[in-house]
């Protein structure tokens, strides 16, 4: 039985509804919010700032330090234990690696850019939402970066390729579903995050990577608009 109609009526290559905002956390140097379907992520950027612990410092360039964290009530009912876990450490690391290729931290030797990602609500695709929010936050913080980084998942459900799996699709039996989070640099097309959960044929993987491009472009556009909108409301001498 093929998965012909998605349970929420989306087309196979259609991502969930996207909401993106910049400047949502006042005290942070930069912040972003990214919601895709029922997965929401806040990201706050602090810095570049003095790096502690000092052994982490790199005298050649600044470093990026990401912290991914799901809120206790953000999952599907079971309480998520706060604090670092095997899973959140891994996701923090891949987030860092997904974002670092666009950043230029050469002007900040020995300093650190801290990115904190918090997810108040998750329904699959949380690392992608986290990367999207973090890219908005980094741009909002005024850090030199050659592009934004959109991220979304692609995968297959019962043999059918679909973009942006939600919880219901992703949590199927491993043999029925495969899930591939992808992040890219839109201007060059380079892929900065590629992981896979489940099983998929090599030819299908290549098709999946082609299929996800339009969704990534759409997300990049949403990210750029979010940053611009922060400055749109007060243009033309309007009230503060």
């Amino acid at each position: 039985m093929a998965y012909e109609r998605r349970h929420d009526g989306r087309a196979a290559d259609e991502p969930r509804k996207i909401t993106a905002k910049a400047g949502v956390i006042k005290k942070a140097d930069g912040s972003g919010y990214f919601k895709i379907g029922d997965t929401a992520a806040y990201a706050a950027v602090y810095g570049p700032q003095e790096c502690h612990p000092a052994w982490m410092r790199n005298p050649k360039r600044g470093i990026l330090r990401c912290t991914y964290s799901m809120m206790p009530f953000s999952g599907d009912g079971e309480r998520v234990r706060p604090g670092p876990s095997r899973r959140s450490k891994e996701i923090s690391m891949v987030t860092e690696k997904a974002l670092l290729p666009v950043l230029d931290l050469d002007d900040y030797p020995n300093a650190v850019v801290d990115v904190f990602i918090e997810l108040p609500e998750t329904d699959a695709g949380s690392r992608c939402a986290g990367i999207c929010a973090a890219a908005i936050a980094l741009a909002d913080a005024g850090i030199t970066m050659k592009d934004v980084v959109p991220a979304v998942s692609v995968g297959q459900v019962e043999g059918t390729l679909v973009v942006d799996l939600d919880g219901e699709e992703e949590h199927m039996d491993e043999n029925a579903a495969a899930d591939i989070p992808v992040a890219c640099i839109p201007s060059t097309g380079e892929i900065t995050l590629l992981q896979m959960d489940g099983v998929m044929e090599p030819e299908k993987l290549l098709r999946a990577l082609d299929m996800v491009r339009p969704a990534l472009d759409r997300i990049a556009e949403a990210q750029r608009n979010a940053i611009k909108e922060r400055y749109a409301h007060s243009a033309g001498g309007g009230a503060a």
Binding site: G30, E50, P59
Partner: protein, 286 residues
């Protein structure tokens, strides 16, 4: 050969600002293939064929000759460490701190104590962003009283305005003394209610820094909040680059450089002023 944006447009990382080889990338933009793209959040600035962006956000990076306001965060063997509202802190050496003689092993907290705020000038920045500052110079001093606020360092030029016109207006309308550090730290002192108006006005400028017609908007705000005459706020320009008030007038210092580092100890600080007339002959001499 097409420009994709207008002057003063807000651009975001990765946005194509021009296509073709007609234009040249500069700070805040880069070339990728045939396109020129922005590589940071900023306001577009088109200078003939050169495309730049003016940053709208970001931290302060110390630069030589900047006048900054720092906070003493540590006391070193022969100097002080100042936090500059930046990823990098500065060192104020004893020799750059004052014209007074400071003996070896003296208690440095007598000059600048922890938590004190100091107006200082950056004299050296290394490739690793190690910073040296000095307190010797007109208007450079320890700050007492008043209040400190922090703003985005990239908005400091708007807050100061052309030749200090913007801060001049705030000073005139509120009667506050205001000193603005290039690092986005602002010190002000005045009547509490007026200080409040000044803070509010600075926040307004920060919020609207990327818009045009800001001077008029701020003038209107000041007139509303303080009731001063709008005409009196015309052409309020200042000579000093950073907001020194009249009683911060530069004093004549004996010598800027070439001063022996360890001169003879002097008594009170008043003695260091040179007498304008020759010393009176002592009794018994002639």
């Amino acid at each position: 050969m097409e420009l994709q944006v207008k002057d003063r447009d807000v651009v975001v990382p990765g946005q194509v600002v021009a296509t073709g080889m007609e234009y040249l990338p500069s700070t805040g933009t880069y070339r990728l293939g045939d396109d020129i793209r922005a590589n940071r959040l900023g306001l577009m600035k088109i200078e003939g064929k050169v495309l730049k962006t003016i940053p709208l956000a970001g931290v302060y990076l110390p630069q030589k000759n900047d006048v900054v306001i720092g906070k003493v965060i540590d006391i070193l063997m022969s100097g002080w460490r100042l936090a500059l509202n930046s990823p990098y802190s500065a060192v104020l050496q004893v020799k750059d701190a004052t014209f007074d003689f400071i003996a070896k092993g003296a208690d440095l907290t007598k000059y600048f104590d922890l938590e004190d705020h100091v107006v200082a000038k950056v004299i050296q920045v290394t490739s690793q962003n190690l910073v040296d500052v000095t307190c010797k110079g007109p208007g450079l001093k320890k700050l007492t009283g008043g209040r400190i606020i922090k703003v985005c360092p990239h908005k400091v030029p708007r807050i100061i305005g052309t030749k200090g016109s913007m801060v001049g207006m705030i000073k005139k309308a509120t009667g506050c003394k205001i000193i603005i550090g290039q690092n986005g730290v602002i010190w002000m002192e005045g009547a509490p209610d007026k200080e409040y108006v000044a803070v509010e006005t600075i926040r307004l400028i920060e919020e609207l820094a990327h818009t045009t017609g800001l001077t008029e908007r701020v003038k209107q705000h000041l007139v509303e909040r303080t009731g001063v005459d709008a005409a009196s706020l015309e052409h309020v320009e200042q000579e000093e680059e950073f907001g020194g008030s009249p009683d911060d007038r530069p004093r004549r210092y004996p010598r800027e450089e070439g001063r022996p580092e360890r001169g003879p100890p002097r008594g009170s600080s008043n003695d260091r002023r040179r007498r304008p007339y020759p010393a009176r002959p002592r009794r018994g001499e002639q």
